[in-house]
Amino acid sequence: MTGLMTFIPFAPAASALLLILFGRRYSRRAVSLQACLAVLASFLLSFISFLGLTRLGPGSGPLIKNLFPWVQSGAFQSSFALRFDSLTAVMTLVVTGVGFLIHLYSVGYMSRDKSYARYFAHLNLFTFAMLLLVMSSNLVLMFVGWEGVGLCSYLLIGFWFEKPSASRAGQKAFVVNRVGDSAFIIGILFMLFYAGNTDFLMIDKAVLGGSLTPGVITAIALLLFAGACGKSAQIPLYVWLPDAMEGPTPVSALIHAATMVTAGVYMVCRLSVLYSASETALQVVGWVGGLTALLAATMALVQTDIKKVLAYSTISQIGYMFIGCGAGAYAAGIFHLFTHAFFKSLLFLAVGSVIHALSGEQDMRNMGGLRTHLPRTYPAFLVGALAIAGVPFLSGFFSKDAILSRAFAQGQYAVWALGLGTAVLTAFYIFRLLFLTFFGSERLTPKAKAHLHESPAIMTAPLIILAAMAIFAGYIGLPSVFGHNLNVFSNFLGPAVMTGRESAEALGTEWLLLLVSVAAALGGLGLAYLLYRRKTGLPAALVRRFPRLYALVHHNYYVDEVYGAILVNPLLKGSEAVYTGFDLKVIDGAVNGSAAATSFLAKILSRGQTGLLKDYALVILAGLVIILGFLLW
């Protein structure tokens, strides 16, 4: 079975390679078939591997397949080795499963785009990189995948590169990621220096064996987490995600909702042993997650672009996942990752369907009353909205509750409060979106109204599947209030991640927390209903009442401006100065100068070519004399 699992990443890789090299020669149908089948193959292989893993039972260690020794430089060894355990199983199933659905969706969404092959090539490449990331057995190989997804993110955000805003967004994503990545690299170096190895098994052994001092552990954990902040869009490196919405909507669904941005969470959970050994690191993770969750949720409240709401929502939800990790509840964090993948990609794809139906309109102020026109998109979106809001009996409810109750149980009351506040806001903003888009008066532009149509089956089918998952996926992780040991998910992940300090929570408290969560969700929903269905004049009135506050939030707290002033502009100005002062003058000067000197020299020397026979003979004679003179000496 270890042999089989090797093919999981390489099916999409092969497809990507073929598409990159020969994409132009493919017909559209061939591209679609190959790309989708490649991911489907990966999914099936993942599923088979998953089944095999369950059959082996929880006691066995992870499956390792060492493909070849890759780096061998003195004491530093790193092999190209893949690893399959329960955490990997979850991740690969999510990546390939959701990935496959999104590939299908893209066939419809991108059907009229002129760079069809390039899109699927990049998408496949991304799938490969992501799979490499989650399947690698050591940090260095994981970093390869890490960088790979960053690259594909850049390529896909800037897919329509003729649009300057898209191109800039891609650059921004890449550069901000790079900042995080540099911290990540330093973390890897620390790891190598102190632990001598980056293999996950060896790391766990080193931490548990006590060969690393607490200070070092904390340092490494924080450095790696900084990298995660970049990749997973947490404070302070989240600024690229809203801009990333310039890319095609399926890309936003796959990369910026379900998979790439969750890589940071995966990384923390993979190194759960490391993080659990450092209380400081866990605190930082939890706080960053909590603050990000709340902050992003506030920004989602006032967005007018439909995709930007979802972008901030993603940032916020990932904050939740980190809250879970910070509380030592890694399984809960992954659980939320799992459910979030379904309902967030569902929301994005549904929104994509709306945009597609409206011929590209993304501003919610120009929407409204679409419920009747989009009979398949609307219910899907509704399901997703209910899930993300944490309405009971859908998946989001279970995963959110898991995180919040664990945070509370750990005594992290402040973080818990942040999470609760975020829950209220989440319900609010998502239903604000829903009401503005699907209900109320139609505010469509004439152009949009002219081509209004429901999306084709190839786009709505994935929606239906995702909706089903959004409803039912939560039931594998039932909290203990409903009975003991019903949290199948957590049990499954047991061997792979630390389960943290188990604190026995009184059943009564658990129920109370549950009810508080439900109240938060329903409260937010109700508030949205109030403001956007009943007293529809209220939002505008509030804006007039608190203009400065509104401006602050609407401009995203001016964070981009601050970054621009402190970092970006000085850097740009400095580069320009170096360019004009040094590059142009000195370097070009040297090159041009040497050319000028040569031609000058040549002009002088060419005066010797008189064309006269005798002069040439004279030179010969002189040469003879000189040479013989030399020889005689």
């Binding site: 070519q609 008189t610 026979l613 040439y616």
Partner: protein, 94 residues
């Protein structure tokens, strides 16, 4: 004897640079060749080696051939440029 050869050779060189028309310059080259022949024969005599004489034989023959062709070329140059003053023959310039 060899001294004579040397003197003749040097004189030939000077003759080459002094004269201004191609034909005379060509003749100077012949002078130099003869000087070399003299040297060869001297050595042949000194070492009792008949090979030296053989070489001279061939040199004379080749000189004859060369003179024929060279003069033909000079004729052509003259026909084309109507001059054999080397000061004016600058087409090799540059």
């Amino acid at each position: 004897m060899l001294l004579v050869s040397l003197i003749l050779f040097v004189l030939g060189i000077i003759l080459f640079f002094v004269k201004r028309d191609l034909i005379t310059m060509f003749m100077a080259v012949e002078v130099m060749l003869n000087a070399a022949n003299l040297a060869f024969l001297t050595f042949a005599r000194m070492h009792g080696d008949l090979g030296g004489q053989l070489i001279v034989f061939f040199v004379i023959t080749v000189a004859a051939a060369e003179a024929a062709v060279g003069l033909a070329i000079i004729l052509l140059v003259f026909r084309r440029t109507k001059s054999i003053k080397t000061d004016e023959l600058r087409s090799m310039k540059g």
